[in-house]
Symmetry: C2
Subunit: 189 residues, 2 copies
């Protein structure tokens, strides 16, 4: 067994982002990412299945979202439960100290079709995770699907605003604002 | 130049579906699909960029959806314009004679992760095409995004019901029904 490496996952993510910025996603290998992080290729593969996955944090987000919806007050309606989950994301993942990293990550993803594709699929698995969590609260199937789609859209809007380094609001507040805008827009459809 | 082959695209799609059913998606090659259709590999690649694409009809659907939204009456609201587009899809693509094919196609896609992934990405490009078409009608950005998400969800629900060979309603009617259910659910979120 290899020794446990403290913060190996974060070091690999930072190294990957730097290399993707410097020489492009296609021109970076897993070995180079591991070397930049001072780790080995096999350590990389204990954390991520492939190079494409390194900017997407495995299943962390889907787990946080599900836990956030599960923990919402029993009286909360579907979108209120989603807002609760987005607050959790703001506290656990999209913290103020990660905003600049978020902006750089978005720029790298936008520049590469393979990464854009992976991000789109991650978005769909987040939506699926929200649907399952809402159904566990007793929300009917169709209402769960609609609330998850609206929640996912609010998430994207809030993330774009949050990772724009000109803003200083926290992610949870931006998400609540986006959710209320999305809800208002849905009445105009 | 190769001779023009009548209905080459449809023949390739039918051949691919048969082979995927018989031996599985992974165990089927492009050459085998072309042979089954009585065509050559180079004819296949004039119609589809790769094996994964053969069940997804290139850009036909995105074009039909955009044209359907463009052609909706000027007074139609966003979801009414989407309903108009789904009517067009029902008349041009999801016609009653293709229902059984649709059910078989769904079964093959459900059985393969690569095809499910491609289908998910196609769904996203359909949503993007709806957003662009709604914005061309002067619908504000956020309302266009919400209407497209709700429209895409209604589409999926209607397609699942339509390709269930027990139903006999036409796709346009199923889509209007699904849109009104989705709209009602959005008021409960």
């Amino acid at each position: 067994m290899a020794r446990w490496q403290p913060h190996a996952s974060e070091r690999l993510v930072v190294a990957a982002l730097e290399l993707f910025e410097e020489r492009g996603y296609e021109n970076t290998t897993v070995i180079e990412i591991a070397e930049r992080a001072g780790l080995t290729k096999s350590t990389f593969f204990r954390h991520f299945p492939d190079k494409r996955e390194v900017l997407f944090g495995g299943g962390t987000m889907t787990g946080l979202v599900a836990a956030g919806i599960d923990a919402a007050p029993a009286a909360a309606g579907p979108l209120e439960a989603v807002a609760h989950a987005l607050d959790v994301i703001g506290k656990e993942a999209f913290t103020p100290d990660r905003r600049e990293f978020g902006a750089r990550r978005s720029a790298v993803i936008d520049a590469n079709p393979e990464l854009r594709e992976r991000e789109a699929l991650k978005g769909l698995s987040l939506t699926a995770s929200m649907i399952d969590a809402l159904k566990r609260r007793g929300v009917p199937e169709l209402t769960s699907r609609v609330a998850a789609e609206l929640g996912a859209l609010a998430w994207k809007i809030a993330y774009d605003r949050w990772s724009d380094t000109a803003t200083s609001d926290d992610f949870g507040e931006l998400a609540r604002q986006a959710l209320s805008e999305v809800r208002a827009a849905s009445t105009l459809c």
